[in-house]
């Protein structure tokens, strides 16, 4: 639990020892089979779990880590989770004897200071051995839990001074010993969780990991450990080579970007993330030097493993999407994160909110920097929302419920060159299946009033961001609601001349004399019937709005993504006819003249092609 430990955990690992060589086709066949095990485990968990965040939102991940602690082959699940689990397993691997590892064991880990992300991201894993007793791989499963047993329900404490405020940390604890559940340990963990359905979720995780590990055991038996080891080595090497080949095609240079977070949870302003991406031949270095390290910051500490993961999530977007996501990604890229900055905090810092920010600003900065190199793949993979309005109450049994619901509707879907932002979230969150009003209202005393996109709430651009939605809901019983507002002063940035997204804003007790806008944070006791309204920032634009096809702008106006006023003011498009009669037409001459006039006032307006 130290910077030194972080260095050890992140150090490059050796290939698995094997004397045999296998052909690339066989290697790829083995890889596909292993990925299918991940699919099976993740599917099983998603179907068996009770909490909406796992079974509806699908926020879970399955991966295979090899005996040297490397992300072995493709994983199935949320990208932001995919690149963390191997760090947690490495802590266990460093202590195999201490923790008495053996076949059919299942472990739990979530410790931010032992390779983890934030506390709610539980990693449950099981080692798999060959018939000679040699450890070959570890099957890992991660899922976000509804509570972590800390000061505040849900695990997010706005003013947390340390990790202990946020809940219980597990560096590596054994849940199943040689196939036998350790009831004492499991009951202790269940006892330290407020969430009514937690026991079911944990049982589902254990069941899914055991099932997957058994399948892996069969595969190692079938192919032999050496073939599996050789296949892992090849898969990792192959990925590294492909990434390096892509980087080698990028122009050498240093590409930098700075992104600011409005404030931390106690109001310290303009928290900075700085990234320098250096391309030299086939080597890419991502350096976070210059990122904020003010020790008095509160809430904005992202764990080391998470910071690496969020860098990698954006790098994956920047390269061919078919490249297998494994340790080869890390081998191909050098990531430098200064010790003590908000992207590599000292031990015992709180970690819950850091997974939102600065985690996402790291992603955004990498995207901005690389937009100078790979504009065609520059769409930030993040969530700029401070945190969703977490609405928390207790049922008649005193069990906690939370309509956190990841109830973003449209947020942060930026355009990318050639494609307008679409759908609900950036593509990296596309495996989420958002909760719906009809499900939530059957369970909780809330009423969803509106969740539509707001006209003009997306960044304008040659390709435009998806408009952000306005989420309005009413609580029908006295309820606690919590919020942290950011991305208002510093909204999501546009790419290559595109406009920024609109600022986020959030109001509580809407329509009453007590209505207020949340400037920084809120932890409020809402009376029955109070209304809360969260305007999401939407996606940012790509390229200058004055280059957008005027016919596309006309379509946008017809669909009320863009207002008539903004068509003229932002896009320089003059339309005739009326929206009410659906007979809008582009006045091409007037548009050309207006754009010329506007273009003269704009600083830089070169086409992005």
């Amino acid at each position: 639990m130290s910077f030194e430990l972080n260095r050890k955990l992140a150090a490059r690992r050796d290939p698995l020892p094997t004397s045999i060589n296998i052909d690339p086709v066989t290697a790829d066949i083995v890889r596909g089979a292993f990925e299918t095990v991940c699919f099976e485990a993740a599917t099983h968990l998603g179907r068996a779990a009770s909490s909406p965040i796992i079974n509806q939102s699908n926020e879970r991940n399955a991966a295979i880590v090899d005996a040297n602690g490397r992300l072995a082959m493709g994983a199935i699940g949320t990208p932001h989770l995919t690149f963390v689990n191997q760090m947690m397993v490495r802590w266990g691997l460093m202590n195999v004897e201490v923790y008495d590892w053996g076949p059919r064991d299942v472990f739990l880990s979530n410790d931010p200071d032992h390779g983890g992300g934030h506390l709610p991201d539980y990693c449950v894993y099981s080692p798999v051995y060959d018939d000679k007793g040699e450890l070959i791989v570890v099957l890992t499963l991660q899922a976000h839990q509804g509570d972590t047993g800390g000061k505040d329900p849900g695990g997010f404490t706005l003013e947390a001074a340390d990790i202990f405020t946020e809940g219980v940390s597990f560096p590596c604890v054994k849940l199943v010993h040689r196939g036998e559940k350790r009831s004492d340990v499991i009951h202790m963990i269940e006892r330290n969780n407020r969430f009514a359905t937690f026991a079911g979720d944990l049982a589902a995780m254990i069941g899914a990991v055991q099932r997957g590990a058994k399948m892996l055991d069969g595969m190692i038996g079938k192919w032999g450990a050496d073939v599996v080891k050789a296949a892992i080595n090849q898969s990792i090497d192959h990925t590294e080579r492909l990434v390096r080949e892509e980087v080698a095609r990028w122009p050498d240079g240093i590409y930098e970007a700075t992104v600011l977070i409005d404030h931390d949870t106690v109001g310290t302003k303009d928290v900075k993330v700085h990234v320098a991406c250096t391309v030299k031949a086939d080597q890419l270095t991502v350096d976070l030097t210059g990122t904020d390290d003010r020790p008095n910051l509160v809430g904005v500490w992202n764990t080391f493993a998470n910071s690496r993961s969020y860098v990698m999530t954006q790098l994956c977007a920047a390269v061919d999407p078919t490249i297998v996501k494994n340790e080869g990604m890390f081998n191909a890229v050098e990531i430098i994160i200064p010790e003590g900055c908000i992207a590599q905090p000292p031990p015992n810092k709180p970690a819950a909110l850091g997974s939102f920010h600065p985690a996402c600003e790291i992603t955004e900065a990498v995207c901005l920097a690389l937009s100078q190199v790979v504009p065609e793949r520059s769409a930030p993979q993040l969530y700029k929302i401070g945190m969703p309005n977490a609405v928390i109450g207790f049922d008649e049994n005193g069990q906690m419920w939370m309509d956190q619901g990841v109830d973003c509707r449209s947020m942060d879907v930026s355009a990318v060159q050639g494609i307008d932002g679409w759908g609900s979230c950036p593509v990296s969150l596309g495996n989420l299946i958002l909760s719906e009003a009809e499900d939530a209202e059957c369970r909780f005393p809330i009423l969803n009033i509106s969740r539509e996109m707001t006209t003009d709430a997306g960044g304008a651009g040659q390709w435009r961001g998806a408009p952000g939605s306005l989420n309005v809901k009413q609580v029908l019983a006295p309820t606690m609601a919590m919020a942290w507002m950011v991305s208002a002063d510093h909204p999501l940035r546009g790419m290559c001349g595109g406009d920024d997204a609109i600022p986020y804003s959030n109001r509580f007790e809407v329509g009453t004399s007590g209505e207020y806008k949340i400037e920084r944070t809120a932890q409020a006791q809402l009376p029955a019937d109070a209304v809360i309204a969260y305007q999401h920032g939407g996606g940012a634009g790509f390229g200058s709005p004055l280059l957008r096809d005027p016919e596309a702008v006309r379509e946008d106006v017809l669909d009320e993504y863009v207002s008539l006023k903004a068509a003229r003011k932002k896009y320089g498009v003059v339309l005739t006819g009326s929206l009410e009669d659906y007979d809008l037409a582009v006045d091409h001459a007037a548009t050309e003249a207006l754009r010329k006039e506007m273009g003269g006032k704009l600083p830089a307006l070169e086409a992005v092609e």
Partner: protein, 691 residues
């Protein structure tokens, strides 16, 4: 003697299966895309001729004509359905566009959006609100509905979906909206969400209703023109239509919910498989259908192919109505083999049928799976292959694989073999993903292979998955038409009701099931079945609180319609026990201390109708047949001179030991090394492992 005719219209061929007593007569002719009913009438004419009857006499003697159609699928593929509007609850205009956040590829920032059936300008909202308990929070603003109609009229809307929140609990607002739309926009079709899919949550129901509205005019006008033509031709009975749920129903029923015919072709194949499997004593099957562009996988368990209603993305749109679960992988004969990022990739890109594989000689230049099979000597390039309709050509195939091999540092033959391995592996993983989360080990199943390319890969697939036995019906290339004949008339519907299982409102359950029963009785009566013939399975949807997906199970199977005597004070306790049993089977655990909740009641009804009989068993061995020729072929363990048999020469009782190749009409069956094939009494093939 009277007839039953099954018809399946595919992209290229229209397949017919005529059931005459115990005999099945199969026929195929080209589809007629401009007006598909023409191809149907042409084929019926040919069948009449074979029977020595005029078309009028033939149709007059048909008890049933059963039809599987791709018209709804084609509408979604070609995106040429009705101009569709959506009227929904104020505040919820964009749920359909959000897709609950789902995107098909989480790594590709260049993923294109699906085309919107209802672009935002045609999604209009009206003030109204019903709560989860069915109470009205805000009355329907009728003036707003009329205003929405005027706006949609200006946009030339032909079909409208109406989806209000919690309409599955209280449908009054949706019903009233329909009345207003009918007044304002006469002639426009209306799809009410609570009728198309009476359950939550809103995206799933709205999407299903929108797709229904989009395909409705095309499906109904097509079926009506077919009904007219058949009537003019002399057919006196109801045209029965195949549904994705695996049952058939009248055109009248389909008109109320045209979306139910989506994917009905594949469903027919699975239903046919279940029937064949049962007849031959194999109730648990893995069905694989490999055609030109795709590899379709499905499961038959305990002799049935249960339809599931849930999260089914079909052509990128969520469809919530019951569908026989068929998973599709882009791996077929036309799948293209290429190097991508240094790795060999086979599919999902396909050469289709035009230009098709290089071996088709129609201008294809990229090597495909079919071409690899030619290189491996598995497919013949002699005259008369595939029933004589055309001949595969070797020209250009070798050169294409030589080029591929060069990039991989191997020979042309090795490159073709590697393609065969890769496509095999993709299919095996596809199967494992099909069984994922279901607690099924493929090795406990029997494989049933059909489609043009299925039998060429079946045994090696089986070996990879640990499966010991493979069935290949002689009629495998026209299996879906046969399936429509096997399918029973059926109605599978549900009504929502949410309650803790230990606090059920029995009167409410009784009334919901009574309502479902009344609907079933009406539609069965319309198709000339009386209530006594109807078999009713009363089912519940249940889950633990917080779970997203309910499990469906029988609570009172094989009942008479309207026999609700099973509803008693003990029902809740029985439901909990049955649910836990089902949960254990599905997820390997239960939550002993939790009371699950009921989310809906279902009524699955059917009438048993005569099906083709598939014989089982083997006559006394008639000895090993003699191959007609041999060919140099690589069946997975290197090139060797391989015996070739012609299907038409093989008799029941014949045994063919692998390695060998059997050339059947429209398909090629490979007996891999370590396998043998026996021709059973019905002329179907059963392959088993010997090594």
């Amino acid at each position: 003697m009277n007839y039953r005719v099954g018809i399946d219209i595919g992209g290229t061929f229209t397949d017919f299966a005529l059931l005459k007593g115990a005999d099945v007569i199969v026929h195929k002719n080209l589809s007629t895309p401009q007006d598909r009913s023409l191809g149907v009438m042409e084929g019926l004419g040919s069948l009449a001729q074979k029977e020595g009857l005029s078309l009028t006499d033939f149709l007059g003697r048909c008890d049933a004509i059963v039809h599987g159609t791709t018209v709804a699928d084609n509408t979604l593929i070609e995106m040429n359905g009705a101009v569709t509007g959506l009227i929904t609850t104020e505040g919820f205009r964009d749920e359909i566009e959000y897709r609950r956040g789902f995107k098909e590829d989480i790594w590709d920032v260049r993923l294109e959006p699906p085309r919107q059936i209802t672009p935002r300008r045609r999604r209009l909202t009206v003030p109204e609100r019903v709560l989860h308990d069915g109470s009205v929070h805000k009355p329907l603003d009728e003036a707003a509905v009329r205003e929405a109609c005027r706006k949609l009229k200006k946009q030339g809307v032909e079909s409208i979906a109406v989806s209000f929140l919690f309409s599955f609990v209280n449908a009054a607002h949706e019903r009233r909206a329909r009345e207003i739309i009918e007044e304002e926009l006469p002639g426009v079709q209306v799809s009410l969400s609570h009728e198309v899919l009476p359950r939550g949550p809103e995206y799933d129901r709205t999407s299903t209703a929108v797709v229904n509205a989009y395909v409705a005019p095309r499906v109904t006008s097509y079926l009506e023109s077919l009904v007219t033509r058949l009537g003019e031709g002399g057919y006196r009975n109801q045209l029965m239509v195949m549904q994705a749920s695996g049952g058939v129903m009248t055109v009248d029923y389909i008109r109320g919910s045209p979306i139910r015919v989506l994917a009905s072709g594949p469903a027919g194949g699975v239903v046919g498989s279940a029937h064949v499997g049962n007849a031959k004593g194999h109730p648990n099957l893995l069905c694989v259908d490999m055609g030109g562009t795709s590899y379709d996988m499905s499961l038959v368990l305990d002799g049935a192919a249960p339809a599931e209603a849930g999260w089914t993305m079909h052509h990128r749109y969520l469809i919530g109505v019951p569908m026989v679960k068929v998973e599709t992988l882009g791996a077929g004969g036309g799948s293209i083999c290429q190097i991508n990022g240094g790795a060999l990739q086979v599919g999902p890109r396909s050469a289709g049928s035009e230009p098709g594989p290089i071996a088709y000689g129609r201008g294809g230049i990229e090597p495909t799976v079919t071409d690899a099979l030619v290189m491996l000597g598995i497919l013949s390039t002699e005259e008369g292959f595939a029933g004589g309709s055309f001949t595969l050509k070797r020209d250009g195939v070798e050169a294409a694989f030589a080029k591929l091999g060069e990039a991989m540092g191997t020979s042309a033959e090795q490159a073709a073999f590697d393609c065969w391995r890769v496509v095999n592996a993709r299919m095996s993983q596809g199967v494992r993903r099909t069984t994922a989360g279901k607690g099924i080990d493929p090795k406990d199943l029997v494989m049933l292979a059909y489609g043009g390319n299925g039998p060429a890969f079946a045994a090696t697939q089986a070996e990879e998955l640990g499966i010991e036995k493979v069935l290949v019906p002689k009629a495998s290339p026209t299996f879906s038409a046969l399936g429509t004949l096997v399918a029973n008339p059926s109605i599978d519907e549900e009504r929502s009701c949410i309650a803790k299982a230990d606090a059920l409102d029995l009167d409410q359950l009784r009334s919901l099931w009574t309502e479902l029963g009344a609907r079933a009785r009406k539609f069965f009566a319309d198709s000339s079945f009386n209530s006594d013939q109807v078999v009713a399975n009363y089912q519940l949807n249940m889950r633990y609180a917080g779970q997203n997906f309910s499990l469906t199970f029988d609570v009172a199977p094989d009942r008479r319609l309207h026999d609700l005597s099973f509803i008693d004070d003990d029902l809740g306790a029985r439901a909990i026990a049955l649910f836990n049993q089902r949960h254990m089977a599905e997820y390997s655990h239960i939550r002993e201390h939790e009371v699950p909740e009921v989310t809906g009641v279902r009524l699955a009804t059917h009438v048993n109708t005569p099906s083709p009989v598939f014989a089982k068993g083997f006559p006394v061995s008639t000895g090993n047949p003699v191959p007609t020729k041999s060919r140099r072929a690589n069946l997975g363990s290197g090139y060797a001179d391989t015996p070739i048999f012609l299907g038409c020469d093989l008799q029941p009782g014949h045994i063919v030991n692998g390695p060998a190749i059997i050339e059947e009409s429209f398909t090629t069956i490979v007996v891999y090394p370590g396998w043998k094939t026996i021709v059973d009494i019905a002329g179907d093939y059963e392959m088993t492992r010997t090594g």
